[in-house]
Amino acid sequence: MEAIKTTELTKYYGKARGIIGLNLCVEEGECFGFIGPNGAGKSTTIRTLLGLISPSSGTASVLGKDIVAEKTAILKETGYLPSEAVFYAGMKVKDILKLSADLRGMDCSREADILCQRLQLDTSRKVDELSFGNRKKVAIVCALQSKPSLLILDEPTGGLDPLMQREFFEIIRERNSRGATVFLSSHILTEVQHNCCRAAVIREGRIIACDSVDALGNSNAKRISVTGQVDLGGLEGIRDLKEGSTTSFLFSGDMNLLLNKLAQGNVSDLSVSEPDLEEIFLHYYGKGGDES
């Protein structure tokens, strides 16, 4: 069964574009990455799936349930980690965690204790006194303490230090290995590359690529680094050009034309490598030119 399935899902805010004709399929039990820059439609997609906003057209189901008709049933099995965690002022962390558990009608105190210990979260402090990172930890515990079968994580590591990021992804991997589906929305591509099997790239409200992370990395684009004298003028398909003693660029054009250019030059060293996801991301966003 698909954990998330959207069919031509569209959301407009008045005349402003949110997402357009989104077709997405996330299998149960997989860790799925959702990549896109700010304003691409990632949060709109998540907010639509969670029932915070209604779709303008199209359909979607989460865990086999319709997002409009069965909102509450979906939320019962879903843990959501927002990009910016905001809580009720004046409340202590332990009260927020208890409120979250009570709203789910569950006693999650045991799991909450374990998570707080792993994330080094002091539950006796008031949420207003917490740093951005610590508020994020509260949100993580709220999202995970009920052991949901679907985790929707929106920019999950913002504010967390590297050690906490490592611990967080360790927890996520454990949950995933126990069968939870993870939907990880991020613009930090290494997060997706290291933790997800498949990913979709969203740009200006539309999915422009959806494949395994490996396949996305195996796009036609290659990272070329040349040391020496080469005239690359007139060559199409060059992006992210960095010139210096070594010229480095992302190349998605005709390889024969590139080899001809290199042969005409005076090359002392050459390397051709697979670009990492970060570079692929730039490659996708470069199409159309305005966001590279």
Binding site: R47, L50, G51, S54, L75, T78, V86, Y88, D102, L103
Partner: protein
């Protein structure tokens, strides 16, 4: 009842401040009565000869020299306006604050339907309004007993019941407004309460706009009319409760379908 309990806890401080203020004002007024009673002849004459001002506050129908007449006028101002402000402020922010303070995402991504959220939130408003009125009623009764006056039970119960109903109606209207707004709503709440209060004063001053008494909830809790008639106007109350109900229904419809930002 998690959400209602949570709301009551969030509103605890504000509730206590309002309760102390209203109780203190009413208590002081009542404790001033024995002193006022001595000079009542002069005061009553003065209050009954201020023309439109006298009519506006119902002082033409009440004897300021009796405890019940004195209390009805003081109650009209303190509990009428103060209670109206409390109920309006309480209701007008209860839905909108979630978006304004950006906690809506937290609340609405838990498995609680919007219908349940609205129901528990209006319940929290009603509990606070009823508790406030019950406490203020007890303070007034206690203060009257403390100054050694006999308690005019029927008048007191009718007056306080009328004020409770007025606050419930205002809360219903403001609750409906709360579902439509996303930003600061306190000004709107105060505005609605003041508007309704002045509509009643206008209706008291001139007969040509007496129909306004059917629109404003202050119309059926005009303390001078309640004390002199020893009854409440059922028609005005039914209209008022219907208006309040429309507000609550509007909240269910709007909040049930709106996009939460």
């Amino acid at each position: 009842m998690t959400i209602a309990r949570h709301e009551l806890r969030l509103g605890r401080k504000s509730f206590l401040i309002w309760l102390c203020s209203l109780s203190l004002l009413l208590g002081i007024c009542i404790f001033l009565f024995p002193e006022m009673k001595k000079e009542m002849d002069t005061i009553s004459e003065m209050f009954s000869s201020m023309g439109a001002f006298t009519a506006a506050f119902g002082m033409d129908k009440l004897n300021f020299g009796t405890l019940v007449g004195y209390y009805a006028i003081e109650c009209g101002n303190v509990l009428g306006l103060g209670g109206a402000f409390f109920a309006s402020l309480c209701a007008v922010s209860i839905l909108s604050k979630e978006e304004k303070e950006r906690t809506a995402e937290f609340l609405l991504t838990h498995p609680v339907g919007r219908f349940r959220i609205i129901t528990e939130k209006i319940l929290a408003v009603l509990i606070q309004v009823i508790l406030m009125n019950a406490a203020v009623f007890l303070v007034s009764i206690g203060s009257m007993a403390a100054i050694g006056e006999s308690i005019p039970w029927k008048e007191m119960i009718l007056l306080h019941l009328a004020y409770l109903l007025m606050q419930i109606e205002l809360a219903g209207i403001c609750f409906g407004v709360s579902a439509f707004i996303r930003r600061s709503s306190l000004g709107i709440g105060l505005g609605i309460a003041i508007l309704m209060y002045f509509l009643n004063i206008m209706a008291n001053i001139t007969d040509s706009v007496s129909f306004l008494k059917y629109i404003t909830p202050f119309g059926y809790c005009d303390s001078s009319a309640v004390v002199s008639d020893l009854s409440l106007d059922a028609v005005k109350i039914c209209i008022g409760m219907a208006i309040g109900l429309v507000g609550v229904c509007a909240a269910y419809i709007e909040y049930g379908r709106k996009d939460i930002h």
